[in-house]
Symmetry: C2
C-alpha cells in the first residue's frame, strides 16, 4: 500500500504517517521510486496508535506497547516485564475510569434529586473520582 491509501484507510493525514515513521512507530520499505511501501498491517498499527492516544498514552509509551507486538528475538524476560508493567498501568486506568463513571452515574441515577441536578444534595459525587 502507498501512503495515501494508508492515510485514507486509517483516518490520518500523510504528514502524520511520515511523522510516525520518523518516530519509529510505523515501519515501511521503499520502492525503487523512493515511494514508501506499507503492508496492510500498518493500518491496524495506526488505528492502535490513535486508540491508545485517546486513552492517555504518549507516542513514546505507544512505541513500547507496539514493541510487544514486534517480537524482538531473545531477551524475553525484559519484554515480559514491560508487558506486565503496561498491564498494571492499564488496570490502574480502568479502575480510575470506574470511579469517574460511578461518580457520574450517581449524579444521573442513584441520586434522589428527581433529575434536577442543580438541586442535588450529594453533588460531591465527582469527588470520589478525585481521591
Amino acid at each position: 500500500m502507498r501512503i495515501g491509501e494508508v492515510a485514507r484507510a486509517s483516518g490520518v493525514g500523510v504528514q502524520t504517517l511520515r511523522f510516525y515513521e520518523r518516530r519509529g512507530l510505523v515501519k515501511t520499505t521503499r520502492l525503487v521510486s523512493g515511494y514508501r511501501n506499507y503492508t496492510p498491517d500498518a493500518v491496524l498499527v495506526v488505528r492502535f496508535i490513535k486508540q491508545s492516544q485517546e486513552l492517555g498514552y504518549t507516542l513514546g509509551e505507544i512505541k513500547q506497547l507496539l514493541s510487544l507486538r514486534a517480537r524482538p528475538s531473545g531477551n524475553s524476560a525484559e519484554v515480559r516485564a514491560l508487558a506486565q508493567a503496561k498491564l498494571r498501568d492499564i488496570e490502574n486506568k480502568i479502575e480510575r475510569l470506574h470511579q469517574m463513571r460511578d461518580g457520574l452515574s450517581h449524579i444521573l441515577n442513584a441520586c434522589a434529586c428527581g433529575g434536577d441536578i442543580s438541586r442535588c444534595p450529594t453533588l460531591d459525587a465527582l469527588d470520589h473520582a478525585a481521591p
Copy 2:
C-alpha cells in the same frame, strides 16, 4: 489557602495553578493584597484534573466535567445530557482498555509459548486492541 500551599498539596507548580485559573478550571477569590485565596476544595479539583488528563481528557473536556460538579442553577436538562454523554465516553474508554488488557494478558498468560514471548505463535493478540 494560598497558591503555594495548594501547589504543594496537589503536586503541581504555582504557574500551573495560575494557568488553570486563566483557563477557568479553578476559581479563586482575592485578598486585598491581590493574593489568590483558594478553598481546600481546589486541591481536589486539581487532582481531578491530573487524573483526568492521564485518562486522555483535554483541559476543555475536563472543564465540562467540572461544570457538572459546579451546579449551575437552572437548565438541568442540558447538564444532564452532558453528564450522559460523558458517561458514554467513559464507558467507551473502559471497553477499549479492556480490549488492550485482554490482548496483553493473552501474551502474558493464556499463550502456550511457555513465557517466551519471542516465540509466541499468536502474537497478533494486540491486534484485538486495534479494531
